[in-house]
Symmetry: C2
Subunit: 549 residues, 2 copies
């Protein structure tokens, strides 16, 4: 309802220039024309949007992208120039069709869906779309585009967070390798949703209000050829007062700690000093341009001690190559040695950031080996979802004019569960989800404390009786066009951080073996006994019987 937001909120899609009704496959338009010609655009259709297999060889996914789906449906209308273009593509079509098309909106569409950020499982509808065939068919491709990638990224991010362990922070660093500008911005947004703590992507930060992080790159270090490149030697202490010769102070620290046998690079040192002059309270130094342990870390420690003398706090280092587990342990040792030598805890809280081509498996490997990394910066493998770059949601007709439809396929795993369906999550005494059960919308909801028969959708003999301590209805009305343009979105559009917290709670609501990184246990999605019977009957009615002679 409109009380969830101020009336002047812009409810167009975030990427409004590209996310229009034209962002679809041509065959959707062709089919709509054929439906229009056939007099069927007002037939009542129900479509389910769902996936068949969890990504990344795991046993869960996160449902994301709902806000953009709602904004799209709210704004759905072909512009005049869209219509002009479509007429060009379909020169033989009846001109009356375009009159109809230009007036088409989602005013008769209803969407039922999970909450954005929900943990979801194969075969259960993520969104149920109801409305006239003419408009609902047209939503397919755009809805898939708006759900597939966000859900994939958020799931990938959540898996990486789990693999990184509860203490480490995860930052998204992938913009440069992302699949286009909006691929990058979506990746940042949905990585945060999935549990990441921040991003390097400034545009994403400005759009969605997330933490933006970043210090400097190798190019910064390399842009200095030596201490002579420093245009000023001075830095003002934190408390104010006379500027001091910061370069001399840093060099004296280096010679005190590392003496004559120091082989650290002076060009690198110049870069760190100049960075400290710009960000005296924000030095997180990239230490691997020349030699991490012989040059980068000693240079950082020297700068850090000088900063400390002036009342500032050094922040830490970033490792971007080599054996991250080993280098992080050795760097931590150098921090401890420096603190022991000076008797002051200057580096006690310093962070070690690691960022070289990390993925879920590397994170798991690091955990096994032991490391001292506080923050992981993850780029390419997060934003491109290297391990599985597409989620594979589909959008299937399950009912037309109140008649359930079933698509027969060779494989049982591709059968679509027919009809308008509700889903309930049955929660156990420990607060963990036990089962999701899908049933017809007209069946009474499961009741807490009462026994309910859960059936495997295809394997006749697999049954369980569950007594839930709590029952959650998972598919709820989120969009109702009939309420009018100003009231069609009937759920709040929560800020990113709120969805992120919900995701965290959702993951905690699962038994840990369902969400663990390797060999996770499958979470069960069952059907009610009624739905089982109905579906198998429909299947038998529709499947041809071969005649063999």
């Amino acid at each position: 309802m409109s009380d969830f937001r101020t009336t002047d909120d812009d409810l167009s899609p975030t990427n409004a220039k590209l996310v229009t009704p034209l962002l679809t496959d041509m065959y959707q338009i062709s089919m709509t024309y054929a439906h229009w010609k056939g007099g069927r655009v007002n037939d009542h259709a129900v479509f389910d949007l769902f996936f068949r297999k969890c990504p990344f060889k795991g046993e869960f996914a996160l449902f994301c992208g709902l806000e953009e789906v709602l904004r799209f449906c709210h704004s759905f209308r072909f512009s005049e120039s869209d219509i002009v273009y479509l007429k060009k593509l379909m020169p033989a079509a009846d001109p009356e069709f375009f009159v109809w098309l230009s007036q088409l909106t989602c005013s008769e569409v209803k969407l039922y869906s999970h909450r954005e950020g929900s943990i979801v499982f194969p075969r259960e509808p993520l969104i149920r779309v109801e409305g006239p065939l003419g408009i609902t068919q047209l939503l397919e491709t755009t809805l898939l585009t708006l759900v597939n990638f966000p859900s994939l990224i958020a799931t990938n991010a959540a898996r990486m967070r789990i693999a990184a362990g509860p203490k480490a922070e995860c930052l998204e660093f992938g913009l440069r390798r992302a699949q286009g500008p909006d691929g990058g911005i979506s990746a940042s947004r949905y990585a945060i949703m999935g549990g990441f703590h921040g991003t390097s992507n400034v545009a994403a930060g400005s759009l969605f209000g997330m933490d933006v992080k970043g210090t400097h790159a190798h190019a910064y270090v390399m842009s200095y050829t030596g201490l002579k490149d420093l245009r000023t030697r001075r830095l003002q202490p934190a408390g104010g007062g006379e500027k001091v010769d910061f370069v001399a102070l840093v060099l004296s620290k280096r010679s005190q700690l590392y003496g004559g046998h120091c082989t650290s690079s002076d060009s690198e040192m110049a870069a760190f000093i100049s960075f400290a002059q710009a960000f005296p309270d924000g030095v997180l130094a990239l230490v691997d341009t020349y030699d991490t342990l012989k040059s980068g870390v000693p240079n950082f420690i020297s700068v850090g001690l000088a900063l400390h003398d002036l009342g500032y706090k050094p922040r830490g280092i970033r490792l971007d190559s080599g054996d991250l587990a080993y280098l992080s342990r050795e760097a931590r040792k150098l921090f401890h040695e420096a603190d022991a030598a000076t008797g002051k805890p200057v580096f006690r809280d310093c962070k070690i950031v690691a960022s070289n081509d990390l993925d879920e498996d590397t994170l798991l490997g690091l955990a096994v080996e032991g490391h001292e990394i506080d923050v992981f910066g993850i780029g390419t493998n997060l934003v491109t979802c290297l391990k599985q770059p597409a989620l594979g949601c589909v959008f299937k007709l399950v009912e037309i004019n109140a008649q359930a439809r079933i698509k027969l396929s060779e494989g049982v795993e591709k059968v679509v569960i027919p009809g308008r369906k509700a889903i309930y999550r049955l929660v156990g005494t420990e607060g963990h989800a036990l089962f999701d059960i899908i049933q017809g919308v007209d069946e009474p909801a499961p009741v807490q404390g009462e026994r309910i028969l859960c059936r495997h959708p295809f394997a006749e003999s697999k049954r369980a009786i569950v007594t839930p301590s709590r029952v959650e209805c998972l598919l709820n009305l989120v969009f109702d066009g009939s309420l009018g343009h100003d009231h069609d979105i009937v759920v709040p559009l929560p800020p990113l951080q709120e969805i992120r917290s919900y995701v965290e709670a959702q993951i905690k609501s699962m038994r840990s073996d369902h969400v663990r990184s390797t060999s996770a246990t499958q979470y069960k999605v069952a059907v009610s006994n009624n739905l089982y019977t109905f579906m198998h009957q429909l299947w038998l009615e529709n499947a041809p019987i071969s005649e063999i002679s």
Copy 2:
């Protein structure tokens, strides 16, 4: 120059809402601030944008994304709201910095690059960026984002085109699995650039003027439960005149051809008939909803014969599951049989389209097995570049204040070739490229007909003397901010089809073993003798000598 385009052309980025100076990593802003504080923003820097390894285990890549790079540089300016946001991110920064930043443009930047669509190789600069350190460093992330994905997609598309064989058409069908809306639109655009013939993506078609294709989906077939769903039985002949009972005509064809033992689905038949009523000259039927050979193809043939009687032409079928090689051969056989039975070449020109999870390897496999497919529709594996979802271009400082810079890394393969460099393609008598040679910009260009020593950049003993029949200068000025905002883009921005033709010519300009699908021969990128000597000297000067005792 402005004479390449009318003055009212909009030269902002295609995705102008997202492609702004904020589309970058935070550390670029931090570094720029540190450079500004250090009084170095006007130091003159040269950066190279290049990749180190060809994608998809191949031996070539296509350079794409240049037009968007030029639009971005042309439009580069932080907006007032950008500045407000950055101030929030850097509360401790000197306010004068933001005054400077708000006036920053690319007016002192020069870009030299390959032509968009050029065939390119590892380690050679794709774009050389020259200008003040303060602005050039800020371009890194955005330029990488704008080049990495387009080049990857175009290369993937070109490889798939090669694998599909010279006769087949390739269509891009990936929007629903693309990485976000603009991921999808970019994928369509650059797939066409790489050699695809059309796309299903309507928005991409409207933006870039490419062929848009598509007929209908399984949902269309399933939306019919039987012939009773047809609201009209009639169709007007192509030549005009009285409408005829089209349903009866189709059914009579089916019974003539397939007689009493026909097991084809009536709901499928209803769908095909209604589609033919809407598009009598555009029936390309999806034939695998129920049973491809027992139902889909016979139904299509029956409809096709009826259409033929009325003066229309059936277009063909689409296969979307099963053994595509086998099904396409069998379907073609059914076409031939129908034509033989009726004595008319109704199905002689019908196309067989195939579209189920195709990738480069499947295409190669189909070619080996033998098939009758005319058109491949390729989605997920094209747009997500499953085989390698990121190209990995980097942006490296190679010179500062006229001093060449080198980054030392553990591995020789990661060494950056230092200094401002030109590249020449040396073409042989057959018209095929022989070698690319990189040299310092001040060295005289190779001359056709004259011998030139080409050296491997790292392996001392690997040398060749090449006498080119033709010499092409590959890096040319494309952007010169000093010419003023209205004249800064100094090359034409050719339409998509022109770049596509250029790509085709570029691929043909290579010996076929360099571009073949498997075990391609490496194309050689050499350095001049001068550059070799200079670079190795710089390397020795900068590499530390370990002291061992």
